[in-house]
Amino acid sequence: MGFKGLLASTALLGTLALSGAAAADPVKVGLVSTLSGPSAVLGQHMRDGFLLAVKELNGKLGGQPTEVVVVDDELKPDIAVQKVKGLLERDKVDFVAGVVFSNVMGAVAKPVTANETFLISGNAGPSTIAGAGCSPFFFSASYQNDQNHEVLGKYAQDKGFKKVVLIAPNYQAGKDSLAGFKRYYKGEVADEIYTQLGQLDFSAELAKIAAAKPDAVFTFMPGGMGVNLVKQYRQAGLADTTPFLSAFTVDETTLPATGEAALGFYSGAAWAPDLDTPANKAFVAAFEKEYGYIPALYAAQGYDAAKLIDSALKATGGKTADKAAVRAALKKADFSSVRGNFKFNTNQFPIQDFYLVKVGKRPDGKVETMVQEKVFSNYGDAYAEKCEMK
């Protein structure tokens, strides 16, 4: 037996033993977010929003000392499952919160809810979980994926646009997005363009749009792709002729990069930094003070997710063992959401208001999305009736 071989083997065992060490007592929340790779900025907003709420509550949720274990899902579903299992088995968390992307949610929802641990979504709201796949342990502090797209579809329909071009990345969320738009828009769809995920340059697509001469363009182009599309749309001169309707494309994660190129572009959301509620004013001010940048949707939802957990634990007196009690308390949604109107539907997704927002300039010169008009009031999603929970 070589000495080095022995050394390697014991070192391996040592690693295993060390990382297998057990943990302590207080309320534990696992926060799953995307913190590396090109989309990390979304996860950063969500994490910062969540942690801000915990900080404002003096590090306590429901009056209990709280430990937040932040994990990076790397936007890889298998890595996410791995890390979530760590949260459940090793850290023995009472709640899992967060999750930016639907494909990650698709992978982690089952292990979390099957473990009878509450999963509070800070963003992703796939239709399966809103519908037939709903779970008593799943709560959404955000929205159902289709809703923001429906806002734009409704707006385009109301506004009387006769002909639109739709453009989205060629993946499930992109297809769902266009389907959501078309649920309310009944005019002519001149072209549906699917682009490659992660595409950098849209000149070819912009040329097609210009050739089609639509009344408006609707797009779902998250992250850096959206930044590129917005800038190039402006550069191609289309911004002056054709309204740009979008979801998850122009928001406070991308506006620092697009800057004034996005001025006048539309989006649909349940929240904007200038939304006029007392809770929101306080939140945005505190967030900007703490982190030095303007919060996006994801930050607001992360913030609300923490507040939701806080409200439920207050109701149970800080106890987490009685799952039925916690669930009942969560369902009440007894907290003041930065979004104002907020209550849970039967599928435990929110019923809330949705707005058309438009990129504008603040008095201090920074750009942000601003509420333009309310498109839906007390709006629930289309999948709730497929959910068998009552």
Partner: protein, 305 residues
């Protein structure tokens, strides 16, 4: 002999893991072992045949999708789905290998990447099976109707057993006349041809075998995560496999195993230390190269030596 003892100690250590590990730890180790299985199959063609496949994740992903799609269509049993996974991945390797093996060196690396990317985009467009969002498995596969794989410890031992089998097969292949021809083609193809042997068929068979075992790794991985996703086929994953194999030392049967275990466990350990773990892990890889040779070369000789 020394290598045999090293293998014994390594597998004994892995066999002892369930005695003290929690489920999360078991999941981590199972993932490491499944990657080790895939890395071993890549290590075989890379070390023995000099064939650097940059599309290995695709064969593994196809194996995973075979399990996922079968389950969606009602085929739950591992006795059916695992062989189908291996066959599907092997078939993919056969078709793409037959074309790729016309090229050499970096051209081979890139053409295998091309086929890997094609498979990736195909899975991404499989709308019926979740497309880019991936496909959640209803449950883990049954074995002859029994729900063995559901238990993390049983699953651990199944993976461990299949990993041991893979290492054994790879070692036997390396020592067989077949393996020698493969290695001869790697070191001196001209001389081999003059002996009357065209290495093409040998390479293709090796490529298919490696693909089939990667498919097996994929089948296991689908069961571990109870989820399949196009991300399993991405070129990033293929690059990770190459890193594991090269870090561990492609020349020996245990090198890729050590490389995979080392990379997965180290990544996990560093990630617990800091969110910016890559800033440590990157230079470690550079140092590993500068310090010459992989872990296994430090520990013992090369397989064909």
């Amino acid at each position: 002999m020394r290598r045999f003892l090293l293998a014994f100690v390594l597998f004994a250590a892995l066999a002892a893991v369930p005695a003290f590990a929690d489920t999360a730890m078991l999941t981590l180790v199972a993932r490491a072992m499944i990657f080790a299985l895939a890395a071993t199959s890549l290590g075989f063609i890379l070390g023995q045949g000099g064939l650097v496949s940059f599309g290995h994740a695709a064969t593994m992903g196809i194996g995973a999708y075979a399990v996922g799609i079968l389950m969606e269509e009602g085929g739950r049993d591992a006795l059916v789905s695992f062989p189908v996974s291996m066959a599907a991945a092997g078939l993919f390797a056969l078709v793409t290998g037959a074309i790729s093996l016309r090229t050499r060196g970096v051209y081979f690396i890139m053409i295998t990447l091309a086929f890997g990317q094609m498979a990736f985009f195909v899975t991404q467009s499989l709308s019926a099976y979740g497309g880019d969002d991936g496909l959640t498995l209803a449950a883990r596969s049954t074995v002859a109707g029994a729900r063995w794989l559901k238990d993390p410890k049983t699953f651990h031992y199944v993976v461990l057993g299949l990993l041991a089998l893979t290492v054994l097969v790879s070692t036997m292949l390396a020592r067989s006349p077949f393996g020698r021809v493969l290695a001869a083609g790697r070191d001196n193809e001209r001389r081999l041809r003059a002996l009357g042997v065209d290495p093409y068929a040998y390479r293709l068979v090796a490529y298919v075998i490696a693909g089939a075992f990667a498919g097996l790794a994929g089948a296991l991985y689908a069961n571990l995560t109870e989820f399949v996703s196009p991300a399993y086929l991405s070129w990033h994953r293929s690059a990770e496999f190459i890193v594991m194999v090269v870090a561990g030392g492609p020349g020996s049967a245990l090198g890729p195993v050590l490389g995979a275990l080392g990379v997965v466990l180290l990544e996990d350990g560093l990630a617990h230390l800091t969110e910016h773990w890559r800033i440590i892990f990157g230079p470690l890889l550079v140092l590993l190269v500068l310090a010459r040779g992989g872990i296994a070369t430090l520990l013992g000789g090369r397989r064909d030596g």
